[in-house]
């Protein structure tokens, strides 16, 4: 990876590049902010402190010292902590360790809070928690300077002391959203455990219970593998992709390590005052905050956590403890928190929002009906979808049928044009006489296939059920017309699944057709006869899993599963068969925003696999079993959770993730027209 740096941002020519490679890939950040920080010109160091140290293991003797700085650039304030080069307290700490722990220009817009710890013995330290829920490991100020650090921050950004805990400083806390953050993020541990917030300690509350229930329901345990933090993969490969994955995992492991430390604090508190009354905190800190003591109390934990243990066993253990005995059993309590933090490692996508409603929708439109800020709209939909009543209008934009900057009048005109164009194409097959059809095998075959398939598409929905349902006929007409519009691609099974929700939403035949055409512009290669579009996507999934979950990748490799055919249905019809109808529509509109990536669906695949990976590996599933298992996940996947995971994975993977996906991979527009092949029709 990148070299360790100890100099200022301003004189480091490689800074921008390393930033791309490092923190930028794993931390949530707006590209705008990121680019400003990668231009070191004009950066001003407003605070600098030497001998600020982290303790990467339980032993304070193993430490990495560096320089903590606050850098002001324009109106933004950044925090950096760069370890000293070639100066280590312990030979076991490699150069890589130093790189991994390096904090590279974190903008304070992304910092949620800073918690100050002032133990009676030992050094003061702080824990910086990001708004994503990710926390950096404790930074120990060997030479003091915490107060100065906080004072400097206060000069440049809005910083307030938490009303609930005098040692917690909230950044950009304009409406005291701490509580909201804690509850809505469902990952309160990093923030609240770190801040010693009392609510976090009542572990019997809903978030954990929900975790448990969800785990049982979905037979995915929703965890990142234990091995990712206790195993600490440390491949020495120089492959940048591999390094990134280690980097990401290591960063996760930092959270876990952090969790262990804070856990022991909670435990101490729970022990003395039963679930953490704030008034007692000072007392507890004095007994716990010393690093040596903390580490002693948790030393055995990683070893006690079995790598391939039965998830259910752990869950039941967790449940058991949640009930009554959380505070009485050190080992199990630790286990709970490992479990919990495992989950945390994956769940730092933003909380899902309610769908976009009518009132909000009109705010995106100007007086003539143009969407002024399409990116903001797409972002909004990415995080919440749209209310059903708006879908008819909004999908046309998302699918690219209407241009965002078109006016009401332009769209009206466009619709009428397209309607007559549709009628013209439709007429091409409608005008085929029975006599002509006798001599037109290809037409007969296609029509036969479509006839057979439309009566097997979503017939359980009232919209399509019953005999002689006109909507089934519309499905057929649109598909047949499409097979004339794109005669080379023709008709292929799966298309009716893609069209069904579109017709359901749009209602109008011509509108549905053109929206379907737009969708097929992107997904058409899924249906190429040689399946190249599918193969490209399955290949991309394999590369992404390799990047984001090496143990799972290795497992698939060993078991000859790298073709990822078990994801076939997911990809071909965009999870249509995996979720209820309404959820599918929601998922699709999220995909169509192309907000974080055009290929979010591939990250969704990875997210689901990751959630199931312990089960897959634990049960040593072979290809057949896996295929069956994946099929049977249908109806049991929790959409919101998976979307958040996918978002997090997408951000984690960053550029390296994008590099896993070959150019022209659906739904990217084909790089040339060569991706369309004439299709041979099939007979069944």
């Amino acid at each position: 990876m990148h070299e360790t740096e100890i100099h200022d941002l301003s004189d480091d020519a490689d800074y921008a590049a390393s930033q791309q490679q490092g923190s930028a890939s794993i931390m949530r950040s707006d590209s705008g902010r990121q680019s400003s920080s990668s231009e070191p010109d004009g950066a001003e160091v407003v605070y600098s402190k030497d001998n600020v140290t982290i303790h990467p293991t339980q032993f304070a003797s193993e430490r990495i010292s560096g320089r903590l700085k606050l850098v002001k650039q324009g109106s933004s304030l950044f925090m950096t902590w760069i370890p000293y080069k070639g100066q280590s307290s312990n030979a076991r700490l490699s150069e890589k360790d130093r790189n991994l722990y390096t904090i590279r220009a974190v903008p304070f817009t992304e910092v949620r809070s800073v918690r100050r710890h002032t133990p009676a013995f030992g050094w003061q330290y702080i824990i910086v928690v990001l708004s994503s829920g990710l926390a950096f490991p404790p930074l120990y100020f060997y030479n003091g300077g915490v107060k100065e650090f906080l004072a400097t921050i206060k000069q440049h950004v809005f910083l307030v002391r938490s009303a609930e805990d005098a040692n917690v400083f909230l950044i950009n806390d304009f409406e005291n959203p701490l509580q909201r953050t804690l509850s809505s993020l469902e990952l309160p541990r990093a923030v609240s455990v770190g801040s010693g917030h009392s609510t976090s300690i009542s572990v019997g509350e809903s978030p954990l219970v929900e975790t448990h229930e969800r785990s049982n329901r979905n037979f995915c345990d929703g965890r990142l593998s234990v091995s990712e933090y206790s195993g600490r993969p440390r491949q020495k490969s120089q492959d940048p992709a591999r390094d990134l994955s280690i980097h990401v995992l290591e960063k996760f492991s930092l959270v876990t390590k952090f969790a262990r430390e804070t856990t022991s604090q909670i435990f101490g508190e729970a022990h003395t005052n039963g679930f953490g009354a704030i008034e007692k905190r000072r007392y507890n800190q004095s007994s716990i905050d010393q690093p040596q003591k903390v580490s002693n109390s948790v030393e055995k934990v990683p070893d006690e956590t079995p790598i391939a243990s039965d998830p259910l066993e752990k869950i039941s253990c967790m449940k058991h403890n949640l009930g009554e005995e959380a505070a009485t059993d050190v080992g199990n309590f630790e286990l709970i928190n490992c479990e919990e933090f495992d989950k945390l490692a994956l769940v730092w996508g933003q909380p899902r929002q309610p769908p976009l409603g009518t009132e909000e929708w009109v705010t995106f439109l100007d007086s003539e009906g143009r969407i002024t800020d399409s990116k903001a709209l797409r972002k909004r939909i990415f995080y919440g979808g749209v209310e059903h009543i708006l879908r008819k209008e909004v999908w046309a934009f998302l699918l690219g049928y209407h241009a965002y900057d078109s006016t009401y009048a332009e769209r009206e005109y466009f619709r009428s044009l397209k309607k007559s164009e549709y009628e013209t194409i439709k007429n091409q097959w409608q005008s085929i006489s029975p006599e002509q059809a006798k001599r037109f095998t290809k037409f007969r075959e296609r029509k036969g296939l479509i006839d057979k398939d439309v009566v097997r598409t979503d017939r359980s929905l009232s919209f399509y059920d019953g005999d002689d349902n006109p909507n089934v006929n519309l499905l057929r007409d649109i598909l047949l017309t499409y097979s004339f519009y794109n005669f080379d691609l023709g008709y292929c099974q799966g298309m009716s699944d893609l069209l069904s929700p579109i017709l359901f939403v749009m209602g109008d035949e011509s509108e549905s057709f053109w929206c379907f055409v737009s969708l097929m512009e992107r997904l058409g290669p899924n249906f190429n006869r040689d399946q190249n579009g599918m193969h490209t996507q399955l290949f991309a999934i394999s590369k992404l899993v390799e990047l984001l979950d090496i143990p799972l990748h290795n497992y698939f490799k060993q078991h000859d599963c790298l073709n990822y055919f078990f994801c076939f249905r997911w990809v071909l019809i965009q999870f249509k068969r995996e979720f209820e109808y309404e959820k599918t529509m929601h998922l699709w509109e999220v995909f169509w925003t192309h907000y974080l990536s055009e290929h979010l669906h591939l990250y969704v695949c990875v997210a689901i696999l990751k959630r199931c990976r312990n089960k897959i590996i634990g049960e040593q599933m072979d290809f057949d079993t896996l295929l069956k298992f994946i099929n049977e996940l249908s109806g049991h996947i929790e959409l919101d959770a998976v979307l958040r995971d996918a978002e997090a994975l997408c951000i984690c993977a960053g550029e390296n993730g994008a590099a896993c996906i070959p150019p022209g991979t659906p739904p990217s527009l084909p790089i040339d027209n060569g991706l369309w092949y004439p299709q041979q029709d099939d007979v069944l």
Partner: protein
């Protein structure tokens, strides 16, 4: 013991499978995307056998994907309607299966009994003839009335079972689509315990 069977190509497989696994007829069934599964325990020779049936997508476009599933199959079921086009398609599928599946795979051709006699383009005799030429077992069955459905699956499984006992398959090699479970390998000397098999099926 587990036996993997394969169902390949065409409309009606899913209905036939559902009749076998759930004993019900559901005329409306979403078309198969990729591959779906059905499983049922049967008994042959007093031995419990889990039949695992893989129901594959019909359209030939998917063949490059579906053929990868053949590899773990001990048997295949071809479901063919009496439509001429479907029937003609059988040879092409067979060729593919023979190429990508193991050579000892047992293949049964199931003709669709449901088709009304006057609408049949392919006669029972023609089906029998085709099966004979290609070394297939032949039977006509109806998903609607359940006639012969049970028999077709069990006969296929029975044929595989006999091959196992004759030592045709190396049952320790799971790529034959046979997984021997709890207790003993039913080899030539006679197995003690359950066998399950996967079968795939084809063509309506």
């Amino acid at each position: 013991m587990d036996l993997n069977l394969f169902f390949v190509a065409g409309v009606g497989k899913s209905c036939l499978l559902l009749q076998f696994t759930d004993k019900r007829f559901q005329p409306v069934h979403d078309l198969t995307i990729g591959v779906e599964f059905g499983a049922r325990m049967i008994t042959i020779d007093n031995k419990p056998i889990k039949l695992q049936i893989w129901d594959t997508a019909g359209q030939e476009s998917f063949r490059s994907i579906t053929r990868s599933y053949y590899r773990g199959a001990a048997g295949a079921l071809l479901h063919s309607s009496s439509r001429r086009e479907t029937f003609n398609h059988l040879a092409s599928w067979l060729e593919d299966a023979r190429q990508h599946a193991n050579a000892n795979m047992t293949i049964m051709l199931i003709g669709n009994k449901c088709d009304l006699a006057h609408r049949r383009a392919v006669s029972t005799e023609e089906g029998e003839q085709f099966a004979k030429e290609h070394g297939l077992i032949f039977m006509e069955a109806s998903a609607k009335t359940a006639q012969n459905v049970e028999e077709a699956f069990i006969k296929t499984a029975g044929t595989i079972y006999k091959k196992i006992q004759d030592g045709v398959f190396d049952v320790s090699n799971e790529s034959y689509g046979i997984k021997v479970g709890y207790g003993g390998i039913p080899g030539p000397s006679g197995g003690r315990d359950g066998t399950s098999s996967q079968a795939g099926g084809c063509c309506s």
